[in-house]
């Protein structure tokens, strides 16, 4: 059994290295993008082997799914879809890169060897009872280190604002399709995505899952709906409800962080008896924001003022 696991790990590592090489060094941009998507999927397997199922869920949905969709749509919009000549600049400096790479690899190995293994596991286990949830990763994300998550939701909102502020994407991302089946299918499938997201969100309090995976699945559902040609209700009009949803996560986390001060607690320290409901509320808000942000990132620009007008114009 042990030998079999070792063989599996070795094969996985070899496949990951080969795919990373394909994605960065072999000719053909399309092939590179596809290799990178498969790289993401295999990374999810590696996370499972490293006993990190939360990361595996997020990687499969965000790393492979959402990033893949973003990369493919960007590739489709590029004016020149292939590179001239080799993807490398010059092969002459191979004499520099091979020793330099080996030296760097050696130094990294040495550094990693001497790193003390992180030892916060016991502390997390000890205070898990006060966090209001049973899954240690969710407890760290939304209670012990909630400040990091606040900043991360902020980064997501900032990226959305940055993309939106570039104006409307001149090349439409929605394929012009005449089939009436696809939009209907997109609309029928979306409730399934919503159901899975709610399940993952609820599960996150006691098992792998949580806001990140839930938001990613919901966002993937939204992207699929757009791809199928169903007109979503997110528009560029001034009072679209999805602006509120986008900032809901950041607003809720800031509100809670400041609200507990009013209760006489330090910044971001929840009262122990209220911790469970607060974490669930924050997860819900963060999940919705992550889902909406992923859809907004996929649109790659300000959404059109009205989807009806947009599709008629085309």
């Amino acid at each position: 059994m042990g030998a079999l696991v070792l063989v599996f790990d070795g094969l996985l590592a070899a496949a990951l290295i080969w795919l990373a090489w394909q994605a960065t060094h072999t000719p053909g941009l399309f092939r590179a993008v596809i290799s990178f998507i498969i790289f993401g999927l295999l990374m999810a397997l590696a996370w499972v082997r490293l006993e990190a199922p939360d990361i595996a869920l997020a990687e499969a949905a965000i790393g492979a799914g959402a990033t893949g969709a973003l990369l493919l749509s960007a590739l489709g919009r590029l004016a020149v879809t292939d590179e001239a000549g080799t993807p490398w600049q010059e092969r002459g400096d191979l004499y520099f890169w091979v020793p330099a790479g080996l030296a760097l690899l050696g130094l990294l190995t040495l550094a990693a060897w001497q790193l003390p293994s992180p030892g916060l596991g016991e502390e997390v286990q000890a205070s898990l009872a006060e966090s209001g949830v049973e899954n240690p990763v969710t407890a760290v994300l939304l209670n012990f280190r909630a400040f990091d998550t606040l900043l991360e939701i902020g980064v997501l909102l900032l990226a959305t604002v940055a993309i939106w502020s570039l104006g409307r994407m001149p090349v439409p991302g929605v394929p012009a399709m005449t089939s009436p089946v696809l939009p209907a299918l997109g609309r029928v499938l979306f409730p399934m995505f919503a159901l899975v997201s709610v399940y993952l969100l609820w599960r996150g309090s006691h098992a792998p899952g949580g806001a990140f995976s839930a938001g990613a699945v919901m966002g993937a559902g939204g992207i699929l709906t757009i791809l199928a040609g169903a007109q979503p209700w997110l528009t560029g009009s001034a009072y679209g409800p999805w602006r509120i949803l986008l900032s809901l996560g950041l607003a809720a986390m800031l509100g809670v962080a400041l609200g507990v001060i009013a209760l006489g607690q330090p910044f971001f320290a929840y009262p122990t008896d209220l911790a469970g409901p607060i974490v669930l509320l924050l997860e819900l808000a963060a999940g919705l924001s992550i889902a909406m942000s992923l859809v907004a990132l996929y649109l790659a620009g300000q959404p059109p003022a009205s989807w009806n007008g947009e599709s008629m114009r085309r």
Binding site: I17, H25, D54, A84, E90, S117, G121, T149, E152
Partner: protein, 97 residues
Amino acid sequence: MIYLALAGVLFVIGLHGLFVARHLLRKILSLNVLSAAVFLLLVALAREADPLDAVPHAIVLTGIVVSVSATAVALVLLVRLSLPRRGEEEGPGKEGR
């Protein structure tokens, strides 16, 4: 142990790609490979600890979302760069973006 070595090799591949790639999309892909290597290192180290350390897991989850947003912004900028300028397309006299 295999995964620590894998993280190192992926790091070098990503770094090399980042430096020598011609196309900007390649550089974005290399950057993503690089960040995957760093995540792998963090989680592989966390697995050595006993009991399993949840803090690196949470940080890596955060990192994955941040790297997706960075990739998305980079890709949109890349597409904008590759598009023909509006002025060239519609002739002079038109107001720029």
